[in-house]
């Protein structure tokens, strides 16, 4: 048997390594247990132990913005109210992320362009918006811009106004202190049929994409696969439109035009001042941060790369598109993910300007039911899963664009 000195095992590095981790785990466990027991006994004493049955009881309140595909009235259970809030959060976050990225890329690129005017403007934008608290920005957009627009009954800003025989009027586009309304396409009875067709079009597009890629690989002459796929999709979709129209007797989408009925606007698509203010605030604020991220990414591309691109005779656009951006993306994507997460989380400030996002609706539910712990748990759970999902996607994207090292 090999000699084993039991007296000095605590000096053994292998022992210490494992022992330290066990000790750490134990401390975490004990602290966690202490906190949990403490919370549990305090809640028990007050008779406030978590109970989620309130999710199935009637909510009993109206929500300002309910999407057309969710059936919600005051009689709906609280979980439906949560769902409406969730949708409103997703809607503003998703559109916000798209627009903020657009703003960020444009402004960030402008900051590194040689033109002094664009650079100055972009710098001014970034420095101004980064240094204003978001809440102030939101309140400004809401109380300083959107609700002081001309009143709906007086002189709203309209485009394509026509009077109707009954004395009311309609317009293609209405902007007033009640928000924005514009003509919009709504699905008709032929829509389900056309939807199937669109899926088929998508399949065709994917097939074209793969085929072009395969052909490119085989022949060594790379074609741009994506534009071809897009073209195929549009072609199939347009043909399908007329096919469905003649088969079903009506177009898959019909145009509705907003018209004024008493005090409400009917028809078309409506965006409330709350939504517009929140979206504007989030997009401009996050856009400024994204601009900085983009600038950092662009400047991380070494000068030699740019000079090489110039030497090859690439135009500025080609240089950005083919040389600079692909390399900058590696630097841009991780901090960009944080900005996306920030935007989503910041959307909870909606409560200040009356937009019924998840946090706002949850606040009402909490107050009607008194179930604070449960409501907070749900809110935290939802935002955590949003953030994790966004992170997962962005991490996947990040891995995809990293240099492939061979």
């Amino acid at each position: 048997m090999e000699h084993w000195d039991w007296r000095s095992f605590w000096r053994d590095e292998r022992f210490l390594r494992v022992f330290g981790q066990i000790l750490f785990l134990l401390v975490v466990f004990l602290v966690g247990r202490f906190l949990f027991l403490n919370m549990y006994s305090a809640l028990e004493q007050r008779g406030l132990l978590p109970d989620f049955s309130f999710l199935n009881t009637a909510a009993g309140f109206h929500i300002g913005e309910v999407p057309s595909f969710i059936e919600y009235s005051g009689d709906s259970p609280n979980k439906m109210a949560f769902l409406v809030g969730l949708w409103n959060t997703l809607r503003v976050s998703f559109i916000g992320i798209l627009l903020a990225t657009l703003v960020g890329v444009i402004v960030g690129t402008a900051r590194v362009l040689p033109n002094p005017l664009t650079r100055l403007l972009a710098t001014g934008y970034v420095e101004f918006l980064r240094n204003v608290p978001l809440l102030v920005l939101l309140v400004f957009w809401y109380r300083g811009v959107f609700i002081v627009l001309p009143k709906l009954k007086e002189t709203p800003l309209v485009m394509g106004k026509t009077m109707l025989p009954d004395g009311q009027w309609q317009a293609w586009f209405i902007l007033s202190n009640r928000g924005m309304a514009m003509a919009w396409a709504v699905p008709t009875e032929a829509w389900p049929l056309y939807k199937t067709w669109l899926w088929a079009a998508l399949a065709v597009a994917v097939a074209v994409y793969l085929a072009v890629r395969y052909y490119g690989r085989k022949t060594g002459r790379m074609y741009l696969a994506f534009p071809w796929a897009l073209l195929a999709f549009v072609l199939v979709a347009v043909v399908g439109w007329f096919v469905v129209q003649s088969a079903a007797g009506q177009a898959p989408l019909a145009l509705t035009v907003p018209r004024l009925k008493k005090r409400l606007i009917k028809g078309g698509i409506k965006l409330t001042p709350e939504f517009l203010a929140l979206l504007s605030g989030l997009v401009l604020y996050t856009g400024a941060y994204i601009a900085e991220v983009v600038r950092a990414g662009l400047q991380s591309v070494t000068k030699g790369q740019i000079e090489a691109a110039r030497a090859l005779g690439l135009t500025t656009y080609q240089m950005l598109r083919l040389v600079v951006f692909p390399q900058a993306l590696r630097v841009i994507v991780p901090p960009l993910t944080s900005q996306y997460l920030n935007l989503t989380k910041n959307s909870t400030l909606a409560v200040a300007i009356g937009y019924p996002d998840l946090f706002n609706v949850a606040g009402t539910i909490f107050n009607q039911t008194g179930r604070s712990i449960e409501v907070i748990l749900i809110i935290m759970g939802v935002y955590l899963s949003f953030s994790l999902l966004t992170s997962l996607f962005m991490n996947w994207y990040n891995r995809r664009i990293q240099f492939v090292e061979r």
Partner: protein
């Protein structure tokens, strides 16, 4: 071989640690939990072991709140800071209002000094959590008494101090005069209130389609109404009257002559301390009865010296030991009347005809005058 020996040691060590943890859990459970509760939840006392079986059942936490307040030396009262007439931070930076005066009355009953109170301004959403967690001793913040709040929320409502009802304020030139005229209107409302559910009830009952815009902050809601984002703002009528004074042109706005709900507003205490509940409850009754018996802050000393009325004598602590039964000094009610006044004085000071927030007394009259204020006898 040597490696294996080490691993055995690790496993053994872990088992030992686990065992120790388990033992602690089994043996020290009772003590550990009590310790934790004591350190964190100061105001809730853990009942002695077996107290439930021996002798009369002592409700959990009985007397704990008063003890905590007396040890602290002042009362912590959850209030509103944004409704003139009820709870408002005035230009001098002092809290002022109907609800505020009841906070002072409770402080006067306990300490004989109406200034021994700290006001915690709370939003509608925060208030119950603040009460549940013991951050405040009593909540006097125009809070509506409902069954859910009385049970699930863990709050106990003492006697109502103000009978209110929900109404609507609209612009005079809007052409809205009845509920039906609200068809198609945008209505602003503050979140975290019974107002939201009342609004839905009345809209659904009348088949009215309206756009509801919910604000977390009362200021934001009123600003939106004032800018014309909404055609109407809805809350308790007391709130409408009070806030109208803060609008740019109060005379351009009119409160509709409809009341769509019952809103009994009053002080709220936590579940589980009946003594504290009684103290706040009888503080309210003392102001009612003082008005009924014609005792005011001006004449209370005179009445104390001369009165023969046995109920007034026992209320003022000249006979019996009513104060002791509440755990207070015997001149508790005298202190309330002397320092804060009777109900009428409190009302007129904050909501009377001479104030900008005048609200006719309506249901808030003594039962002898056709109102609902009725104090049980001070016996």
């Amino acid at each position: 071989m040597r490696r294996k020996g080490l691993w055995f040691l690790f496993v053994g060590l872990m088992a030992l640690l686990l065992l120790a943890a388990c033992q602690q859990q089994a043996g020290g459970q009772e003590g550990a939990v009590k310790e934790i509760v004591k350190t964190v939840v100061v105001t809730v006392e853990v009942p002695a072991e077996g107290a439930g079986e021996a002798g009369p059942a002592v409700p959990q936490g009985y007397g704990a709140t008063l003890k905590a307040v007396q040890e602290r030396g002042y009362l912590i009262c959850g209030v509103n800071a944004k409704v003139p007439g009820f709870g408002f931070l005035n230009e001098q930076g002092e809290y002022q209002g109907f609800d505020i005066d009841f906070c002072r009355a409770v402080a006067a009953a306990i300490f004989g000094d109406p200034t021994k109170v700290e006001f915690r301004p709370l939003s509608a959403k925060e208030r119950f959590t603040a009460l549940q967690t013991g951050e405040i001793d009593v909540l006097i913040r125009n809070t509506t008494w409902t069954l859910t709040r009385d049970t699930e929320v863990g709050a106990n409502f003492v006697h109502t101090t103000f009978y209110d009802g929900q109404g609507f304020i609209v612009r005079k030139d809007s052409g809205i005069e009845t509920l039906e005229d609200l068809e198609g209107a945008a209505i602003c409302v503050q979140t975290g209130t019974t107002t939201e559910t009342n609004l839905r009830d009345v809209l659904d009952a009348h088949g009215i389609e309206a756009e509801v815009v919910v604000y977390d902050d009362v200021e934001a809601g009123w600003a939106a109404y004032e800018e014309g984002r909404c055609d109407a703002y809805t809350t308790d009528k007391s709130g409408l009257v009070a806030r109208r004074t803060l609008l740019k042109n109060p005379e351009e706005h009119v409160i509709l002559d409809v009341t769509v709900s019952k809103e009994p507003l009053g002080p709220v205490v936590r579940h589980g301390d009946d003594q504290w509940f009684d103290i706040v409850q009888w503080t309210v009754f003392a102001t009612f009865y003082a008005e009924e018996a014609g005792v005011t802050s001006q004449n209370v000393d005179q009445v104390k010296a001369e009165t023969k009325n046995p109920r007034v004598r026992s209320m003022l602590g000249l006979e019996g030991d009513l104060g002791k039964k509440l755990g207070l000094s015997n001149d508790w009610a005298y202190n309330i009347i002397k320092h804060v006044g009777n109900y009428e004085e409190i009302y007129n000071r904050n909501l009377g005809p001479d104030t900008p927030t005048y609200i006719p007394r309506g249901l808030n009259k003594l039962y002898t005058e056709g109102g609902l204020l009725y104090s049980p006898p001070f016996k």
